[in-house]
């Protein structure tokens, strides 16, 4: 079958069961958009390419399927950069298709030319500049294969304008054969036996679970291992939702803003079982004092993660779901009763806490707790980055995998709202909330137009403290309260901003206004922005002092 390059893209989307693409047209993708028009593919037009790629990312995180985004050459492509880096850091499967200037113009500084494969080399799992139409079917197949297998990640295809028109034989490959790319899924059986033996011998084991648990769908196995082995479990930010929050041995998040119980458990552990996690510096604090007495079992699909930051005593390369299944088969629990008692006391004695004193100064934590209460933890929640993100991690206790969506590794402000749009596109009937900061929201608030355009009932909850709160907090703690450039004067009236786009705007400034505002928002069938005016002086606690061990925490529980 002879197809043009543009038609090949569409045929590939069909073969890969892609139900929606996010994007923004332009000169170098006109032919592609023309085919899109003819085929009637579902396309979400955002108002900025960054919005499109974060939406595709939110779609991917909510569904587990690769998100697809299209942008034009030059500025269209460079506007994808932050989104690619975001997805790369959190191992999210994306396929980004960019237009490129026509082949004869490449390298001539043509209009809207940018070397996007060069630019995105370090922030994609792989990328391709298509030079020969005959290679394109294979490249399309490889792109989806690479994005969605092994350690997942974003793949970029740069398709010159002339190749969108040029015809070639299209025979979509069923199989992929990349001799240099063969991810390991099954764990090494000897290592699995060693891991089971180490668990049997351990008195103070802790499970430390990351985004890999969500990515491989290993939440049931993780819970089973924790239950059968009587092993307390903590997760990273990207692992949230991987363990049911009401589960007794779940200690909450660990790390810089981890719970007392999680950080102390890891610090005093004699066996640390890292599952799909990468010992990020926000998790470990000062690396030489991290889990000082623990043997380490490290399970990850990416061999390069093992030994990168922390040496593993028992490394296991493989898909965490398959590896956990094998460990479970061989599991004989150790004697962890005393340890569990101790950990549960920490959990009980040092809970996350804040004080909502009077109703005139609304605490951000209270707002998020109310959201949790009123949605029963059943909503999909996305966040931006900053204080509100940490409060969301603490107080919106996501129950299910893929319902807590946040930019972990890159920490991308402006991620939450477009990601919520992507999640809502994936699940039109679900309640989707974006918990945003007043700073972060303004980085992609133009996507209100997208939400209105497609009548996506995303609810944006702005935790408005009139500051770039996390930076302000660091200035307070470590820069003697010199608040350099963190006060956000000149922010818009968010109600009127929402209304200008044709969305609804609500506001809550006191305790008694919170629940009614959330309830009203839930009843409105379209997009809503709720502006919660909260205490600007509130800090995220507990907090590990930077470059110290996890147990050197500024409290919060003693108040």
């Amino acid at each position: 079958m002879k197809l043009s390059g543009a038609q090949m893209v569409l045929a590939c989307l069909e073969a890969e069961n892609v139900e929606v693409v996010f994007g923004f047209p332009g000169g170098a993708v006109l032919t592609l958009y023309d085919e899109l028009f003819k085929k009637g593919v579902k396309h979400i037009l955002t108002r900025h390419e960054q919005g499109a790629i974060h939406a595709a990312d939110g779609y991917a995180r909510a569904t587990g399927k690769p998100g697809v985004v299209i942008a034009t050459s030059g500025p269209g492509a460079t506007n994808l950069v932050t989104g690619l880096a975001t997805a790369y850091m959190d191992s999210i499967p994306l396929v980004a298709i960019t237009g490129q200037v026509a082949t004869p113009f490449i390298g001539t500084d043509a209009f809207q030319e940018a070397d996007i494969t060069g630019i995105t080399l370090p922030i994609t799992k792989h990328n391709y500049l298509v030079k020969d139409i005959h290679e394109f079917p294979r490249i399309l197949k490889e792109a989806f294969h690479l994005a969605g297998t092994g350690r997942k990640g974003p793949v970029l295809l740069d398709l010159p304008k002339d190749l969108q028109v040029e015809e070639g034989e299209f025979d979509y490959p069923q199989e992929v054969d990349i001799s240099s790319y063969k991810p390991t899924y099954e764990g090494h059986s000897g290592q699995i036996m060693r891991a089971a033996a180490a668990i049997k011998k351990a008195y103070q084991p802790v499970l430390y679970a990351g985004g890999g648990v969500i990515s491989s769908g290993a939440h049931a196995e993780l819970l089973a291992l924790s239950q059968k082995g009587a092993i307390p479990v903590t997760t990273t930010l990207t692992g949230l939702g991987g363990v049911p929050t009401e589960y007794a041995l779940f200690l909450g998040m660990l790390g810089m803003h981890g719970t007392y119980a999680a950080n102390n458990a890891v610090h005093h552990a004699d066996l640390l079982i890292a599952v799909g996690a990468r010992f990020d510096d926000r998790v470990t604090g000062k690396i030489d004092t991290f889990a000082p007495g623990a043997r380490v079992i490290h399970i990850d699909i990416d061999p390069a993660e093992i030994g990168k930051n922390v040496l593993a005593d028992i490394p296991i390369v493989g898909d965490v779901k398959l590896v956990l299944q094998e460990i479970l088969k061989r599991l004989r629990p150790g004697d962890t009763r005393e340890w569990c008692d101790r950990v549960l006391h920490w959990k009980k004695d040092y809970p996350l806490s804040y004080q909502q004193k009077d109703d005139h100064c609304l605490k951000p934590q209270f707002v998020i707790e109310e959201l949790y209460r009123l949605t029963g933890g059943e909503a999909i929640v996305t966040t931006d980055v900053g204080q509100h993100q940490m409060w969301a991690a603490h107080y919106y206790r996501a129950r299910e995998p893929r319902t807590f969506i946040s930019s972990g590794g890159l920490g991308t402000m402006g991620f939450g709202f477009p990601a919520a749009i992507g999640a809502q596109v994936a699940f039109p009937a679900k309640t989707v909330f974006c918990i945003a900061g007043d700073g972060s929201f303004q980085m992609n608030s133009q996507e209100l137009a997208t939400a209105v355009h497609y009548n996506l009932p995303v609810k944006v909850m702005i935790i408005n403290n009139h500051y770039l709160g996390m930076v302000r907090q660091w200035q307070e703690f470590f820069y003697e309260s010199r608040y350099s450039q963190t006060s956000l004067e000149g922010s818009p009236d968010f109600i009127r901003l929402a209304e200008a786009y044709g969305a609804r705007g609500l506001r809550a400034t006191s305790v008694e206004e919170v629940a009614p505002a959330i309830k009203t928002a839930l009843q409105i069938p379209g997009p809503v922005v709720i502006d919660f005016h909260v205490d600007p002086a509130e800090n995220v606690l507990p907090m590990v002092v930077p470059n110290t061990s996890l147990v050197e925490m500024i409290g919060g529980w003693e108040k």
Partner: protein, 166 residues
């Protein structure tokens, strides 16, 4: 510590950038890099000398293996191998000193491949120590310019880093 890596890569546009870019962005220092073809069409061989401790090298190898165009990475440092580098040296050679230079070149089994009224180009091959010694001797005459290939390496005996696909 110096490590020598043999990297087999797909011969595609941008592969050298992917490999060298990985070294620089992860903070590994390349001392030397040589790239050339192999017996298999479409596959090139890079020989990279990197100065790093064993743990860092292990991480380098793992990261290289993640590059989709990288077929195989072998650390040849602890293997029995032979390594060579070729250097072209342009040295000042007034007529009165030519024979002296020629003698010196002969001692090092170097070849004179170009002569002009006041200079010569000498081709010398060998391992690092020999090349260093040769350059030291040539400095006495005055080196005008050098170009070198970078080190290339093969395993000794019949062992290969990768069997040819039949």
């Amino acid at each position: 510590m110096k490590r020598i890596l043999a990297i087999l890569v797909e011969d595609r546009a941008g592969v050298l950038t992917r490999v060298s870019g990985l070294f620089s962005r992860r903070g590994y220092n390349i001392q030397n890099i040589a790239v050339g073809r192999t017996m298999e069409p479409g596959i090139s061989r890079m020989t990279v000398t990197v100065d790093a401790d064993p743990l860092t090298v292990e991480q380098v190898v793992k990261q290289l293996n993640k590059l989709v165009n990288v077929i195989k990475v072998s650390d040849l440092t602890d293997e029995l191998s032979v390594g060579r580098e070729l250097i072209l040296v342009k040295v000042k050679a007034e007529p009165g000193r030519r024979s002296e230079i020629q003698q010196m070149a002969a001692t090092f089994r170097a070849k004179i491949i170009d002569i002009s009224p006041d200079s010569m180009i000498i081709e010398v091959t060998g391992e690092e120590q020999k090349l260093q010694a040769f350059l030291l001797m040539m400095q006495e005459f005055g080196i005008k310019e050098i170009a070198s290939t970078g080190k290339i390496c093969l395993l000794r005996g019949s062992k290969v880093t990768r069997e040819l696909r039949s």
